[in-house]
């Protein structure tokens, strides 16, 4: 066991995977020599050479498209898009090519690859360093979408994603790279080293894709969250002193519907929390699923806590961010008799 922050855990996952499988190649803007602007790929070029870990031209379209070609050859690209906000030039390749290849060729060509990208707000990054675009990918058949919330999960999920036969969008909540976030921006960041989830096994292990994690068991309500919001929601529940069952989805597609259903049937109430804007956000899908499948067990309408339907502003960061106050308001509603 080693104590790691999320960046170190992700870095370690790359190393474990690349040592075991020579077909893994890692590339992206600033991802080679420098090891990425967040340093997730640090040291890979040194250990594995420039042909397996390299810098790319600034073209997200080119990064994804060449990954398609490499996957077609039989390599396994693990690519970095510097910020999720910059993934859009690569969107056509992801949606039209990566996602649909297995289907359109009935399995003749497949696209095993991982597209990693830091996402989310809470860092004063303005509209181009704060977005949560996950639902633009969960909407696309053929893609898996994974979002870790701890160093332990980050490493295990990334290794699982790399071994997955299908393309995986791997969004990393950059606000919690160095430590979990309670949602109280005026309080100091607690480093991961103070938390049990920072204990990361050495070597290989996986956290299965498609399996949620019950972070906290409880009876009063079910809270569905992922990424940074797992920690924000958890802090809010503790402050409100409610016996919440908190589920970290970990994978959005394919979703662990069983764990969700079981929990909501038990608690009869469901609160969904995400940073992304509300309209057509992943919470809409979750709300529909819970309502369709657990309607007769529900004691109150499903509630969603989300970012607002505006672009992410630079100022008013904490008015935009779905923090403790917004969660508490929704909690009151969902707990009403």
């Amino acid at each position: 066991m080693a104590v790691m922050n999320m960046i170190q855990a992700l870095n370690d996952a790359h190393k474990v995977a690349m040592r075991a499988d020579e077909d893994i190649v890692v590339f992206g803007e600033d991802a080679g020599y420098f090891g990425g602007v967040f340093r997730v790929t640090e040291g890979l070029q040194k250990e594995f050479g420039k042909e397996r870990a390299f810098d790319t031209p600034i073209s997200e379209n080119g990064i994804v498209a060449t990954a398609v070609g490499m996957a077609a050859y039989g390599l396994k690209p693990v690519i970095e898009i510097q910020f999720a906000d910059y993934i859009y030039p690569g969107y056509d390749q992801i949606v039209s090519e990566v996602a649909k290849m297995r289907y359109r060729t009935a399995g003749e060509w497949t696209m095993p690859m991982v597209i990693r990208s830091p996402y989310g707000g809470g860092i004063y990054g303005g509209q181009t360093h704060s977005q949560s675009p996950e639902s633009l990918f969960t909407h696309i058949a053929g893609l898996k979408t994974v979002i870790p919330s701890t160093p332990y999960d980050a490493k295990g999920l990334l290794l699982a994603a790399i071994e997955d036969p299908d393309p995986v969008l791997f969004f990393e909540p950059k606000r919690i790279y160095n430590g979990p976030f309670s949602g109280h921006h005026d309080q100091p960041v607690v480093p991961w080293s103070k938390r049990a989830e920072a204990e990361v096994p050495e070597g290989h292990y996986t956290v299965p894709i498609g399996k949620a994690n019950v972070v906290r068991e409880g009876e009063a309500l079910t809270v569905l969250a992922y990424g940074t919001m797992v920690h924000v929601a958890r802090a809010a529940m503790e402050e409100a002193d409610v016996d919440a069952e908190i589920i970290d989805l970990r994978t959005l597609v394919p979703l662990d519907i069983e764990t969700i259903e079981k929990s909501v049937r038990k608690t009869g109430r469901c609160l969904i929390v995400h940073e992304a804007p509300r309209t057509s956000g992943f919470g809409a899908e979750l709300s529909a699923l819970v309502t369709e499948r657990c309607f007769y067990h529900l004691e109150a309408p499903v509630e969603r806590v989300t970012g607002w339907d505006t672009p992410y502003p630079h100022s008013y960061e904490w008015t935009y961010f779905p923090g403790p106050a917004r969660i508490k308001t929704a909690l009151k509603k969902v707990m009403a008799d």
Binding site: Y33, V37, K50, E51, T56, I58, S59, N61, S315, Y320
Partner: protein
Amino acid sequence: MARSERRPNRPALALHVPEPPYRPGDTPDYSNLEIPEAGSAPRPDVACDDSETHPLVNHLVRVLDDDHKAVGPWDPKLDPEVLRKIYRDMVTVRIFDDRMYRAQRQGKTSFYMKCTGEEAIATAAAAAMDAEDIHFPTYRQQGLLVARGYPLVKMMCQIYSNSGDHMKGRQLPIMYSDKEKGFFSISGNLGTQFPQAVGWAMASAIKGDSRIAMGWIGDGATAEGDFHAAMTFASVYQAPVILATVNNQWAISSFSGIAGAEQATFASRAIGYGMAGLRVDGNDALAVYAAVRWASERARSNNGPTMIEFFTYRAEGHSTSDDPTGYRPKEESEAWPLGDPIERLKAHMIGLGEWDEERDSALHEELSAEVRKSQKEAEKLGVLSDQGDENKESMFEDVYAEMPWHIAEQRDAALKEGE
């Protein structure tokens, strides 16, 4: 899927991954970098066939020689008043950058980007164009705003996201916009502005207007598809536009070779699109002026677009979030052979007898005082770090012309939040 074994009688293929000549720990030496003599580049007629410019894409338009004298056919023979204006703008930009960099370090805002070493490019380009022409800039052309007389206080208010920011704090610091000054909204998404400049120029042509557009992009961002879109549309419609690539050698941690500069100059991309191309010493304010003047006359006389590469060097970190000692030698900017654009123009003016050390220190003092005064004024309206949530409902405005019900509901919820 099994890969077939390599045939033993054929060579093993190898991937070429460009590597900069120097990394941290190395001693950079650019003494054998090919820098053509000042004055050696021919100056074709502005109405020439694009092919006549093509030898220039591997040359370097330079006016100021090693003794800081203006030489050769590109000498714009500027009035001393114009020289002093460009000089003043450059010095303003440098002082402004230093102040705002420090403000970020003091925690007054979230982010800042300097253009140190590149000041000549935007300021001299602004001088060479008409005030009514429009720019589609990147985040390193603050010199355009300064040169066009945009109030420093307003720039600072944008940087602080305070109540003096007409964009209501929506954008990251330095992502300015000012319609009146012909300065299009800066995007954080690289490259997007480049083909947009072409579209504006096409519109001007559609309407029989006389204004032209200038699009800006960094060396790194030329790799984006938008670069190609800009070049293609500009060429197809012979749009009245100047397309400028600022090659400052670096794109965060990757050197220009990762954007293709090992194989060909950025200016030479003009050839494939059948466009005029110029490669210009970006640390030579007179060369910058002359090239932009040439391209603007060409565009304005319906002779089509020009791609200009400004060859320069990013003397400091990419931004306040970057520490360049992790990927390039500390001494590299010192070793870079084209010198400091401010020092070069100053020496030139002194040589002409149009400037002296006394006036220079007076100017520095005057501008430092002006920048400090502007900063005080801007800070009266607040800095990012002490921003409360007054007026937070403004966050919900301008998503659409008319606010739909769902955003109105969210605004009302936000106002109640935390009560």
